[in-house]
């Protein structure tokens, strides 16, 4: 996978390095600003209420 990407990046070794950095930065930004904020509420790290259901915050009482 990475070998294929490296072979298809243009511009010789400098171009490949720059292209790799751009691709890496784009992937990290996509994860950080789009995927993680979307996925974070779906994960059970941060249920902080006391509820009758327990766990999921479906019915918050009092």
């Amino acid at each position: 996978m990475y070998g294929w990407i490296w072979n298809h990046l243009p511009g010789g070794r400098p171009g490949k390095l720059i292209g790799s950095a751009i691709l890496l930065a784009g992937a990290v930004a996509l994860l950080w600003y789009v995927v993680f904020p979307w996925a974070e509420p779906l994960l059970p790290f941060d249920d902080v209420q006391v509820t009758e259901g327990g766990g999921a915050a479906d019915t918050v009482t009092q």
Partner: protein, 321 residues
């Protein structure tokens, strides 16, 4: 240039050999062979560059040239076009390493294992990045949101009296609105508390359980907040007697930590108006957050009892200094 000349000479000699096979082999020696070739070339191409080159080359090495021509003719029977075709059309090109790099079952298995390994490494890196996001990214996001909320709350509260003041909220604020500021000197932090404890409400701020009492009221002012570094990460550091200060639009309310404990997520009685272990009519403050850190199977609870109140105009309470 030289290769072109050689090729032309080979083809010329091959063609001459094809035209009259009998004189070449039978007439032993150079002179009978060279004569028809020179005349033929001279007639067809008078000014060609091979013209001057041919006589001395042919005269010097007529025998070797003929030998090479016959070998070439044996290897490549059609003389002209096949010699050019592989150069022009690259579809038939094969590297000398093609035998070593061609796909075989073993190489395909290796490629699959390598791809799987790269995928697993990638998943690991993504999970590490997510851990970094949870620790540092969320901190930055919540801090920024709290800063905005704090500014908005200051503007809302400090509207000059008389000047188109927003309708004074009678009773409880609408869901999602800011309720109060919460100061915890032990953690050296303060937050804007919003109304509601749904995940959307408490995304960036501690939330007030909507049915619980308001600050300073008889009952239990209950707050839920995330166990993240910018919120209640270190809430387990709270000790009995630590002050917790709630600032509303009109008053300061100082509470003192009375008890902290860990309960099941279903222990809704801790946010009742009268939680277990407290007298009826107490003025209480309760904070709930998740426990342990990064998990959700318990809740960390801090109860505090009301000790004093003072109007906001009287300045900050001593507990904050």
């Amino acid at each position: 240039m030289t290769s072109d000349n050689n090729g032309g000479r080979h083809r010329a000699s091959g063609a001459s050999g094809g035209q009259d096979p009998s004189p070449g082999p039978t007439a032993s020696g150079a002179p009978p062979d060279t004569d028809p070739r020179v005349t033929g070339l001279g007639v067809s191409q008078p000014g060609s560059p091979t013209g001057p080159d041919d006589p001395d080359g042919a005269a010097a090495s007529a025998e070797p040239a003929r030998g090479r021509a016959t070998i070439a003719a044996a290897e490549v029977p059609p003389a002209g076009p096949p010699a050019v075709a592989p150069i022009g059309g690259q579809s038939d090109y094969r590297s000398v390493h093609s035998e070593l790099t061609r796909a075989s079952p073993a190489s395909m298995i290796r490629a699959a294992i390598r791809g799987f390994g790269e995928l697993m490494i990638t998943v690991g890196m993504v999970i590490l990045l997510f851990a970094g996001y949870e620790v540092w990214g969320k901190t930055a996001i919540v801090d920024a949101a709290q800063s905005d909320l704090d500014t908005a709350l200051s503007q809302q509260w400090d509207v000059p009296a008389g000047a188109t003041a927003p309708a004074k909220p009678s009773g409880k604020p609408p869901p999602g609105g800011a309720v109060a500021r919460l100061h915890i000197p032990r953690l050296d932090k303060r937050w804007v508390v919003v109304e509601g404890v749904d995940p959307k409400d408490i995304e960036f701020a501690p939330g007030h359980y909507p049915k619980s009492a308001m600050p300073g009221e008889t009952g239990n002012f209950s707050i839920a907040g995330h166990r993240v570094r910018s919120t209640f990460w270190d809430l387990d550091d709270m000790r009995v007697g630590d002050p917790i200060v709630v600032e509303t639009q009109t008053d300061w309310h100082v509470y003192t930590v009375a008890r902290s404990k860990i309960v099941k997520p279903t222990a809704v009685e801790v946010v009742n108006a009268r939680p277990p272990g407290f007298d009826r009519g107490s003025k209480l403050l309760t904070i709930t957050t998740c426990n342990p850190k990064w998990d959700n199977y318990e809740r960390l609870i801090v109860h505090a009892t009301h000790t004093s109140s003072q109007p906001r105009s009287a300045g900050r309470p001593a507990a904050l200094d």
